[in-house]
């Protein structure tokens, strides 16, 4: 069902955990639907220097969170915002069709975290 990359991220999640000193936090999803993702970002000079996340959900949701965190760490906010659903799926070596929604959820959580950071900065 899952690619080896998905299973790898599921087994060994990268950047997993809460960032106590996060600059921005964003949550997406609803436990009622079975998936909730929370992204934490630490930003310096417009760059995401550290990422953290917490996820309630299936293996795909966990792997997607892990993958996205890896994809954006070290990237500018601009670049991070440009990550697409397809890019995450590709990064993971593909996702089963019924699991594609996980990528939207992850991007939504990330965007909320960025927004949260930007609004706090104002």
């Amino acid at each position: 069902m899952y690619s080896e990359k998905v299973m790898d991220h599921f087994r060994n999640p990268r950047n997993q955990g809460k960032l106590e000193d996060a600059d921005g936090v964003g949550t997406a999803g609803n436990p009622i639907c079975g998936d909730v993702m929370r992204f934490y970002i630490k930003v310096r000079n417009g760059k995401i220097i550290k990422t953290g996340w917490e996820t309630f959900g299936c293996a795909a949701a966990i792997a997607t969170s892990s993958a996205l965190s890896e994809m954006i760490t070290g990237k500018s906010l601009e670049e991070a915002r440009k990550v697409t659903r397809e890019a995450i799926a590709e990064y993971l070596g593909g996702l089963p069709p019924i699991k594609k929604h996980c990528t939207s959820l992850a991007l939504e959580a990330l965007k909320k975290a960025i927004k949260n950071y930007e609004e706090a900065g104002k």
Partner: protein
């Protein structure tokens, strides 16, 4: 590997494999008149007798099918006359979906509610039966939460009202007594691959005198109720599996109960967890838990990584996103329903395996809770 998913399917046992391998030598078509055909016919009819003994019915009441799904479809879609149909709200999809088809054909279908343990109340069935009710379908035991229904009482209600009763006994056959006559059941579905028999074969008990329309028509096999060249080697294997399961039922079920009870008590110690289904009226081999704040699929996969094979809900709905209709029917909150894990024991399982499964579950639940944004509350 510690296999704890016997409700999904079971490995074919040695004796059955031997019977199947032997039966592959009997290769004639049972409908052929020559000696090779006659041999195949005899193998099928002997198997029918064996299965009939296991079901305490007559051989003429056994219709071989391609499995539990076909047996359930035949029981419902085979109804010759339109009318009102009652199905419990926790039936297997292979009953619920055909019930949906009946609605499109002009039948009226209502769902019988269950209590928080998943039990159907026979009195409620009596109340819901109408003058035009043609069939009640209540499963013997639920494949997810393991609750065993009071089928005899439900059967009595049906008999008293002259309504047919269909019982999906796929999960109980070989584990607890399945006696269509004592149940007052008119139609009973059973499946081979749940009792260490080959996949792709099952049967429907059709009480003498009950009229059904065939679902698969053609050559007229199974006395016209199920056409198609008989799956000889599958039928032989199924009969062997049924014979053994029923013979060993009492001792094996007692053994499984002990393992199950240890599993339940072990898993109950995990914080924020609870057992689903009835604490007593449950399958001897089923333990079904919700672990709050984690999602079942990831738990299943992580347990699989540890060599422990379990399921979320039923195997066939594993790939869906909706939480189980069974867990919703017993009143679970959706977020809790997502966190369910089913352990179903079988022949090969030992006490040591159960201990390992408990330990592994503790670890996995803890790990997933660390990852989860919910800690101790939603």
């Amino acid at each position: 590997m510690i296999y704890l998913d016997h409700a999904a399917t079971t490995p074919v046992r040695k004796e059955v494999l031997e019977a199947v391998t032997e039966a592959f030598e009997i290769f004639g078509n049972p409908s052929s008149l020559h000696a090779a055909g006659t041999k195949a016919r005899e193998a099928v009819e002997e198997s029918r007798e064996t299965l009939a003994r296991a079901l305490r019915c007559s051989p003429e009441e056994v219709v071989f099918t391609s499995g539990g799904t076909e047996a359930n479809n035949l029981a419902l879609k085979g109804l010759p006359e339109r009318g009102h149909v009652l199905v419990s709200s926790i039936e297997h999809p292979s009953v619920l979906e055909p019930a949906g088809s009946l609605e499109k054909l002009g039948f009226e279908v209502e769902r019988i509610p269950v209590d928080r343990f998943g039990l159907v109340d026979p009195e409620r069935v009596a109340e819901m039966i109408r003058k035009d009710t043609v069939l009640v379908s209540v499963m013997h035991a639920n494949n997810e939460i393991g609750t065993v229904q009071p089928v005899r009482e439900i059967g009595k209600v049906c008999r008293d009202s002259g309504v047919l009763l269909h019982v999906d006994a796929v999960q109980t056959f070989g584990k607890i007594e399945v006696d269509p006559k004592r149940m007052n059941a008119d139609l009973v579905s059973v499946s081979s691959h749940k009792i260490y028999g080959p996949k792709g074969v099952g049967a429907l008990f059709v009480r003498e005198g009950v009229k059904l329309k065939p679902l698969l028509s053609g050559g007229g096999q199974e006395r016209g109720l199920r056409s198609g060249t008989e799956n000889v080697q599958g039928i032989v294997g199924f009969a062997k599996a049924a014979e053994l399961a029923v013979a060993e039922m009492e001792t094996e079920s007692r053994r499984l109960e002990r393992l199950r009870d240890r599993l339940i008590s072990g898993l109950s110690e995990i914080p924020d967890s609870f057992l689903n289904g009835h604490p007593k009226k449950r399958l001897p081999n089923n333990a079904h838990f919700c672990f709050r704040f984690i999602e079942g699929e990831s738990a299943v996969l992580m347990l699989s990584e540890e060599g422990i094979m379990v399921s979320t809900a039923s195997a066939c709905s594993s790939r869906k996103l909706e939480p189980s209709h069974v867990l919703r029917a017993i009143g679970l909150r959706r977020e809790e329903a997502h966190g369910s894990v089913r352990y179903t024991l079988g022949l090969g399982n030992t006490k040591e395996q159960v201990e390992k499964a408990i330990e592994a579950t503790e670890r996995v639940v803890e790990k997933l809770r660390e990852i989860s944004p919910f800690k101790g509350k939603w």
